[in-house]
Symmetry: C2
């Protein structure tokens, strides 16, 4: 029997989500042929469905919200909410969520969708500000680090959409991220907030 390399087992597991023993056994049966081993695992129902959040979400919708003041719209928001199928994209629950998200953005004014999107120089400036504040408050150095971490969390909760408290507490209590995760679970598809834009009369574009 030819030797099954750990590298092949790892590759096979990555592609199929199968367990270690199952992947090893499949490779052994197919004499080290990864493609045939994939088919074998699938036939045997041992390939995982795949993590929902890894699945391609190329469909979706554009949610919108307009805030009217003195008889005219003065704030407008667009949100791109992605799904895997157009079937889900046109469903009532999904359309409603898209609108709620747009309304949330109008009220909560996030700057980014995820933490990853916050530029490093912005984070660095924030860390320095917090550290300076903490020192001014007379906090000892070993405490300052913890304070920076804690207040940086507050910064994310203020400015990152997925970390913000969802404003429609009548519909969902928790962060926007948690609301989207629950929506994905109930619809059985990978759901993502891709981007948003908020435009208000008289405010300069960033």
């Amino acid at each position: 029997m030819s030797e099954i390399s750990a590298k092949d087992v790892a590759a096979l597991r990555k592609e199929t989500g199968a367990g270690m023993m199952d992947a090893k056994r499949a490779l052994t049966e197919t004499g080290g042929d990864i493609e045939k081993a994939k088919d074998l695992l699938r036939e045997q129902g041992l390939a995982a469905a795949g993590k929902r959040s890894d699945r391609v979400a190329s469909e979706g919708t554009i949610g919108h919200y307009l805030h009217v003041q003195a008889e005219r719209p003065v704030i407008g928001v667009l949100v791109e909410l992605a799904s895997e199928t157009d079937f889900v994209a046109k469903s009532d629950g999904f359309q409603e969520a898209a609108k709620d998200l747009a309304m949330h953005v109008a009220a909560a004014r996030p700057s980014w969708v995820t933490r990853d999107e916050v530029p490093e120089d912005v984070l660095e400036k924030e860390r320095q500000l917090i550290a300076a504040q903490a020192k001014n408050e007379g906090k000892p150095d070993h405490i300052v680090e913890k304070i920076v971490a804690g207040r940086l969390n507050s910064f994310y909760e203020d400015h990152v959409l997925l970390d913000q408290e969802f404003v429609r507490t009548d519909k969902f209590e928790g962060t926007v991220g948690e609301m989207v995760t629950q929506l994905a679970a109930s619809l059985g598809e990978n759901i993502l907030v891709r981007r948003f834009v908020r435009m208000a009369v008289g405010e300069t574009a960033e």
Copy 2:
């Protein structure tokens, strides 16, 4: 009589729009006092109303348009249309124009509002491209410059909102800029398209 400086006359004319002789006369009457001369000209009805397009347009509305496909919105557009007063901003004609502009942006996909906004490196690249094309077509050098100017105009007409042909030819025939100018004239206020955004499902943000 104290000497009336040419500089003061110019300043007074700039602020009031009055003619040369009237400004000189007013300054002479007020002994060179610019503020008093301004009041004098206004009392005499000799100060111009002021160029409409220089007036501050700090009011306005957000126009929007959603393109639906297979039962869900897949393209969304927001446009900020500015006016001088909220009275005009809420008027039917203005609201309709804001919506028409958003619809236009959805269809015509401009990249910038005005020619000024086109980055210099983009223009330079375009000029070089056109010049190379023209030389490939065997055009002599002295003609190439004219061709660059001409085709750059086409570039603007394709990508700059105000230079684009307004898509609602049923409502107005001409460029978007001409449509806005006519709107301003009919409403008697300075009207400006400040910015726009177009978001389509699956398209990457620029």
